[in-house]
Symmetry: none
Subunit: 221 residues, 2 copies
DNA sequence: ATAATTGTTTAACATTTGGTTAACCTTATA
DNA sequence: TATAAGGTTAACCAAATGTTAAACAATTAT
């Protein structure tokens, strides 16, 4: 877990500190938040690999935070684990519905929590890197695309579209998924995606993005 | 979770039956075992996508079963979830060390268990791999069909039809079932299915899909 | 602030493809 | 051997996607 970024969210500072201490021992880089609003802000700027999220917090609760974060495609691969004193079925189900990866009932047993995180990271861990065996690489920090040794800066939407497809090369993204992820709630015509695909093909070659008729598009080296 | 194979292991038949009932409702194909030895035998022959494994059983206990199964590379991607009355830390840790993906303390809350399985399946996509003993494999994420080492992208309806037949190889699907599953409410003529079967046979060989006259079709390696 | 530039979306049209049908052929079995 | 079920083929049509240019928005430079 060395070097991974972890965000801990709870309105009780004691719990946050205790968890932070334990995971720092594991070599993780820990951020802290004591309410939902801060949690969202920090999560979006830091893009941690793991978030421990208390359910019950004043104002914005954990469920809302989770729902909000899951909208953000950058945080799609982030593990979100709920911590809650409430063990009731409906409460847990609500957590999963909001997009959680696990739901841990307090009191938290740190050892077990570590194992849970390890399992989840191992199970789908490598997926976080958007590097690819093909000759296209993107760098979200620098906002650049490397292709055949050249570094390109491309427009925002094109970049986001490419980043999405590249986040899981070979996997087909349906048009509605693309729409939701790249455009959010904006209502746009149905040719817009095609036009952006066209431009990416213009830049990097026709074979970079493959059409799956009736379904969507996928990145193909 | 449609079509996924699930193995339930517990020495108490009541629990096995209760769980089996619930997951069969989800469209899963359920196998049962009442002791560790049988569990290993069945797991190795069936290669289920998910195993629910009781920890405490006479003779060979769940931990041993899990360790044994993890040796088998065919079962590397199988989800193993422990069920146990013992919630102690060391017991859970032992479970994770043995290679478990999750550890659920009894009494089991089925709804929550379903969500857990769903999350894990979605996270690392075993759900999408319908591997089969024949030389045809489909991948729903990539929308591809592998046949003799080649990856094919085939039209949507053909893909869905193949996916359906492949979801339970050897089982015969009646024409009306196929219609309902692939075409939904659309009203189409009675030769349409045949034409699609024809195209699949053209691609992958005549023996891939078998006709059962008067009944329907089935996939046959 | 204004112009120039760059990025995004739309709209119109072209092209491609997949799905369906219809007509006819073949085969199993009652 | 009659008959119903399924197989085959090619043609048609509709839907999905590709393409382009131009309008519109947002940024950046002057």
């Amino acid at each position: 877990m060395q070097g991974l970024k972890l965000l801990i969210v709870d309105d009780e500072p004691d719990i946050v500190d205790m968890l932070a201490y334990n995971f720092e021992q594991e070599g993780m880089t820990v951020s802290k938040a004591y309410n939902g609003t801060d949690a969202i802000r920090i999560a979006e700027s830091e893009v941690p690999q793991v978030i421990l999220l208390d359910v019950m917090m004043p104002d914005v609760d954990g469920i809302e935070v989770c729902e909000t974060l899951r909208q953000n495609s950058e945080l799609k691969n982030t593990l979100i684990i709920f911590l809650s004193a409430r063990g009731e079925d409906y409460s847990q189900v609500a957590g999963y519905k909001a997009g959680a990866d696990d739901y841990v009932v307090k009191p938290v047993r740190v050892k077990i929590l570590k194992h849970k995180i390890e399992v989840l990271l191992n199970r789908f861990g490598a997926k976080n890197e958007s590097v690819d065996e093909s000759n296209i690489t993107i760098n979200k920090q620098r906002y650049t695309v490397s292709h055949l040794g050249e570094e390109h800066i491309i427009p925002k939407k094109e970049f986001e579209l490419l980043a999405l497809l590249l986040s899981s090369p070979e996997r087909v993204y349906r048009r509605d998924e693309i729409l939701r992820d790249v455009w959010g709630d904006a209502v746009i015509g149905d040719r817009t995606i095609d036009v952006h695909v066209r431009k990416l093909r213009e830049r990097f070659g026709d074979n970079v993005i493959q059409t799956v008729k009736g379904v969507g598009y996928k990145f193909a080296g």
